[in-house]
Amino acid sequence: MKEIQIERALRISGLLLILGIVVEIISLLWEKPLAFLLFVGVGGALTFVGIVLYLYSLLPPAVESSSQPRPKNS
């Protein structure tokens, strides 16, 4: 189950990053002042969200606290 979630996160993150790269390429080919705004506003946002989502997928799952008492040290 956990692996499926990681794979799903990787796919979504990857798609966002690919979209961000496509937007960056378009902004580089479109030599106008608005191209920079497109690069930062759309391309940068997509890339940032993609990277953050990927890093989030690397986090280990939260460990549930044990209901049993800890053994005392002798």
């Binding site: 960056e24 580089l28 608005l34 920079f36 940068g44 990927y54």
Partner: protein, 209 residues
């Protein structure tokens, strides 16, 4: 052998990054192994940041180009003023005689030479874009500098030059010029700058003639 230009390398890097990411999107199971994890980290983290930095640098360099500044319609009269056939027009004289790089003429004169001059110029450019598309841009002849032109921008090149130093007037008022007490371009000496309001009355130089 000609090496590819930095822009070509950037495009290649962007494509390679997209391909690597696509491989992991299609086959995410490869990230189970340690090499796969490293590949994912490089493709999802390192390369996008590297591509973004290089692309940002390219955009910033492009924004220094004269054609970039003149791509906005409101700047058309200022672009024309660079071709006025009159040596008393300061921008025209500098541009036509390559006293400033013609490809970066606007940026050369309209950037403070301080440490953050370039940063301020870029932030000003963002403001111009905002006004152009979301605000009410003024008429070209009504555009004014945010603050008086700093003599430092002139003295950056002219100070120490023989033609400047050998002029007795410059020598006499040198302290006033360096202290910005007297402006180079608004004290009656070199006051003809862009003058876009009176372009119907001037002749223009055509390159190549």
């Amino acid at each position: 052998m000609n090496l590819p230009s930095p822009e070509t390398l950037l495009y290649a890097l962007l494509v390679i990054t997209a391909v690597l990411i696509a491989i992991i999107v299609v086959r995410p199971a490869i990230t189970v192994s340690a090499p796969g994890k490293m590949l994912a980290f490089v493709a999802f983290c390192i390369l996008p940041v590297l591509c973004g930095s290089m692309a940002a640098s390219t955009h910033i360099e492009r924004s220094k180009q004269t054609k970039f500044c003149l791509s906005c319609h409101i700047m058309e009269p200022y672009g024309k003023s660079l071709y006025v056939d009159d040596p008393s027009y300061i921008p025209a004289a500098h541009f036509q005689n390559h006293r400033v790089p013609p490809e970066e003429a606007c940026y050369t004169c309209h950037t403070d030479y301080g440490l953050y001059g370039g940063v301020r110029a870029k932030l000003g450019g963002l403001r111009h874009i905002y006004i152009q598309y979301f605000g009410t841009p003024p008429r070209p002849e009504d555009i004014q500098l945010y603050k008086p032109y700093n003599n430092r921008e002139c003295l950056h090149c002219h100070a120490g030059a023989r033609s400047f130093e050998s002029n007795a007037v410059h020598t006499a008022i040198r302290d006033q010029l360096t202290g910005n007490e007297m402006s180079c371009i608004s004290s009656g000496c070199h006051d003809t700058v862009h003058n876009v309001k009176d372009q119907s009355k001037v002749k223009f130089w055509t390159p190549g003639q």
